[in-house]
Symmetry: C2
Subunit: 230 residues, 2 copies
């Protein structure tokens, strides 16, 4: 093999962008030209550029060519494990407690998102996840029964809804939002903290085939950190 590898090409392209040999927003040479410059097959250049584009450094379009992205966006990948695994990875013993499980009419906002008829019931679950018997996470979840009727037969005392859904609902799309909020009275009581403490909140919506299956609000007590590495 005489030419460069796709990793070498990635590195070199990164260098040229950093050194501003290829200016921000500018068109870079075509795959064909780069393949001839680097003495390699076009597929090799393609892989290098494709990966750099997925990292946010390049912007590629058919016919229009490849440009250096004007606003280099760093992308961090956040691993979102099942809560049980997250707890067990810290070395702690995992346990969860279903504080409340009811089929009842959902609030309007949730009803709209799940496309429920007025008065149609959804499953409302409040679950406390514990690490070594200490509160780790309070989960307030609505489940669309029409989308996953089997959930009514799930042994939710043994396997958390979180885990059951991951195992039984096909991989799907979803939105996640992170924020900070003061703990309200019920959250404070469940987590054993002072009302108004700063809690870390994750709001998650999960969809399958365009249908909203579940919507969860996860409340972590003070001290919790969600970490990642770029």
């Amino acid at each position: 093999m005489s030419g460069a590898s796709y990793l070498e090409i990635k590195e070199e392209v990164r260098r040229r962008i950093q050194a501003q040999e290829w200016a921000s927003g500018a068109l870079i040479p075509s795959e064909k030209d780069l393949a001839s410059e680097f003495q390699c097959a076009r597929a090799t250049v393609n892989r290098a550029l494709r990966e750099l584009a997925s990292e946010g450094l390049l912007d590629r379009r058919r016919r229009a060519g490849t440009r250096v992205n004007m606003t280099p966006v760093r992308k961090a990948t956040l691993a979102i494990p099942i809560t049980r695994i997250e707890v067990e990875n810290t070395g702690a013993k995992y346990r969860h407690k279903v504080l409340s499980a009811q089929q009842r009419a959902a609030p309007a906002a949730i009803r709209a998102q799940m496309n429920l008829d007025p008065g149609e019931a959804a499953l409302h679950l409040v679950t406390l996840h514990l690490a070594d018997d200490l509160p780790f996470l309070l989960e307030d979840r609505w489940v669309n029964i029409a989308a996953v009727p089997a959930i009514l037969k799930a042994p939710l005392e043994e396997i958390s809804a979180n885990e059951w859904l991951v195992q039984n609902v096909p991989i799907s799309a979803g939105d996640i939002a992170f924020s900070a909020a003061p703990a309200d009275a019920s959250e404070a009581e469940a987590l054993g903290i002072v009302v108004g403490s700063a809690v870390f909140v994750v709001d998650r919506t999960t969809q399958t085939r365009g249908q909203t299956v579940t919507k969860a609000r996860l409340v972590y007590p003070p001290g919790y950190r969600m970490q990642t590495h770029i």
Copy 2:
């Protein structure tokens, strides 16, 4: 072309895992076998499986083969734009104000991380980022002068350290942590909020070639949400 595309193969592999036709932790057929099953080239299967592995669904090893990952970890990619861009994307006018800029001895924790000699100075910056002249983000940053001496000549009143560093330092790696915390007195004053309010905190460390270049604590006022999509 008679066979399946890499996208079709990804979809089918996902389905088999979901349907437990391929059990969690089990070995799946080799690329060669799948290529013959799907009537396509091995490279096509390779691309499908490689991408699924990068999404956390599969675990691949030479000679050992490809296994279904036991702990399916959902991965969300978080886009981390420059603050100016983040503000401008909301339609607001961006402005920043350097509240403090000093070269001084860093606290021990930071000195250790940056490999500074005792007493060696680092650059300490406190910057308030504004959206339509309202506080958007308070940034407390330490910069390793030895790693980027040019920062001392940067016009930090015009271009924020955040943006200057992104443009001038080839960033190789970094850690990010998200948490919730009560605002302390100085944070509350800068952001115009009540002491103890729940603020969203991002702690970021950035390295180049193994050397820690900068460490920043970003404090967002109540109401801020960091969103993403799976």
